[in-house]
Amino acid sequence: MDLGIAGLVLWKIVIICYAVVSGAIFLYLTREKHSDPHWSRVVVTGGFLAQSVLVAWLWIGTGILPVASFSKALRFFSWALAALYIFVLYRYRVVQLGLVLLPLATIMWALGGPMREAKAFSPFLLSPWLTIHGILSFLGEATLVGAFGASVLYLVQERRIRKRMSPSFLARLPSLEVLDHITYRCMAWGFILLTAGIIAGAIWANEAWGSYWTWQAKETWALATWLFYAGLLHQRVSSGWGGRKGCLLLVVGFCVLLFTFIGAGFMGSGPHRFDRLQG
């Protein structure tokens, strides 16, 4: 099955939609005169639908969740980030989070490149546990990136207040209360999804190789990431580690996450190595 030129056009439409909306949000935040970009909601939703069509096509075409190569993983991650943004947009009406999430989604989607013809995979990738493992892990990681995004906005807003910056400068940033709430929500849900994803992955590993855990690079780093967020969440719940300190640690967490996602994909051996999985 080949989408041909239609696939390329849709791929470009997604980039354009997200890039345009990122710009609109930036203007909305920095220029006091710019009105609420209502149309951007339509554009970003349109972009997301186009993206979903492409992801679904690749998935249905192969029968396998399209995450098993570096470019596919990038694209799927981009889709997960956009999905999270759409959710935050409609649930909390915090347009501003797009300032962090949408450029990331755009870059990942662009780096992933246009979809090529879907190819068949080795049979051990056909397990439903892989699908569950993939979806949960990616959504979990995207949600944790959402926590990072809200943290960045929190840190900016906090600095704005402390340094007594002009009230008109970035006047559209959400209040600390809202940002803190979103940070916490994203962190908690991201952690839950990631945990479930890791468990699903372990079940799949047991089915495929008869062992739940093999200490591959990706597994090890995922565990480190998991432990980091577990600690952060524990501190938050038990002693109210919110505010600036919590947000700074979430920025660190994002770096760990990014390394686990990209760096560990090229280390060691096993099914998480992007370069071995291609084709």
């Binding site: 807003q157 704005r160 207040i161 402390r162 007594r164 002009s166 009230p167 008109s168 940033l173 959400p174 209040s175 600390l176 209360e177 809202v178 709430h181 002693s239 109210g240 580690w241 919110g242 505010g243 600036r244 300190k245």
Partner: protein, 426 residues
Amino acid sequence: MSLLLVGANHKTAPVEFREKIAFAKDEIPELLSRLVASGPIREAMILSTCNRTEFLAEGEEIHSSLEVIRQILASRANVSTREIDPYLYVLTGLDAVRHVFSVASSMDSMVVGEPQILGQVKEAYKISVQCKTAGCTINRLMHHAFRVSKRVRTETDIGKGAVSVAYAAVEMARHVFDTLRNKTALLVGAGEMIETAGLHLKQKGIAKTYVTNRTFWRAKALAHRLGGEALPFESLGSSLAMADMVITCTGATEPIIKKEQVKAAIKARRNRPIFFIDIAVPRDVHPSVAELQNVFLYDLDDLQKVVDNNKAERMMELEKAGEIVAEEARKFSLWFSSLEAEPTIRQLLEWAEEIRLEELRRTLKRLRRLDEREVEAIDLMTRALIKKLFHRPIVKMKRDGGRDGSASFIALARELFGLDGRESGK
């Protein structure tokens, strides 16, 4: 017919004079009927607020109208008319229209952009309507003024940003809290500033207000007025932990809220933020409190800067608002001057119609064998002839008040067509 505006405001007269010529609401109806009864004035309206007293009059002759108003003001202030002149401004025609629009748009207010003035203008107009001293001109002028005010408010930022310290304090909270509806405020002190801030908080829907003060009964009285609860001053330290927002303004000479107390409060609150606003001089909250995590502290200087900044921004909007007012005033004067041309145009058309009917009658008498359709065609033709002939002169008379330089087309038309010897409607 002409428009006259006479008044004194905070820019032209000191408060000692303004208070002398201020009129209470129930004095105005009597005054209005006196004005209209005086002869030269046909329509009148009086606006009297703490910053201004203004008489708006429409009448046949400006000088005698002005004289009537000066007499009233002078006798009210108990001085001679000569003595009140330096404080008064006298505006006529387009200038008067522009002034009315500026006042209603809050551009002439002491605090530019304050919203109360529009209500006061509306009230003044209402009284004038009730006393039947508002006629065609004032009705039209005031309704236009309300529209201009709305336009200025939506198209410029003249009413944006807090311009009082108490309001700025509440506004700043917006950056920290999403809503005040589930927040608790602690007010330290019981003075006027605290009360104003408390009222603003209440307006924004604060969930709970505590008041504490060294003199407990005053805290209790204020808490009662604000619908809050008074707390003993001695337990200030432990009260802090309950508050999301603390506003202080006491006469204490030393800081009464110290870092250790706030640190303990934040710990007890499990790091939920506290927003301190210290409007006291000397300060009530020790500056080192601001070093703590999840604590935000603004003092009077910070708020004053915000207020000054907002005031400056409102002043910058004045220019834009001025353009709107000028544009609208031109629109109004266009209508106003067409009103001036109106009787002349009506007379002119009546005269033409008389001639038309007379000539039509004579012609039809001679052409006896015409059928109904042909008669109708001739009738239509003569109507069209008149309409086309007079179209340009009428447009010319309506535009610019029928004036081109010093020449008045209206006067010219009356002269040319001999209208002054005729009475309209005959």
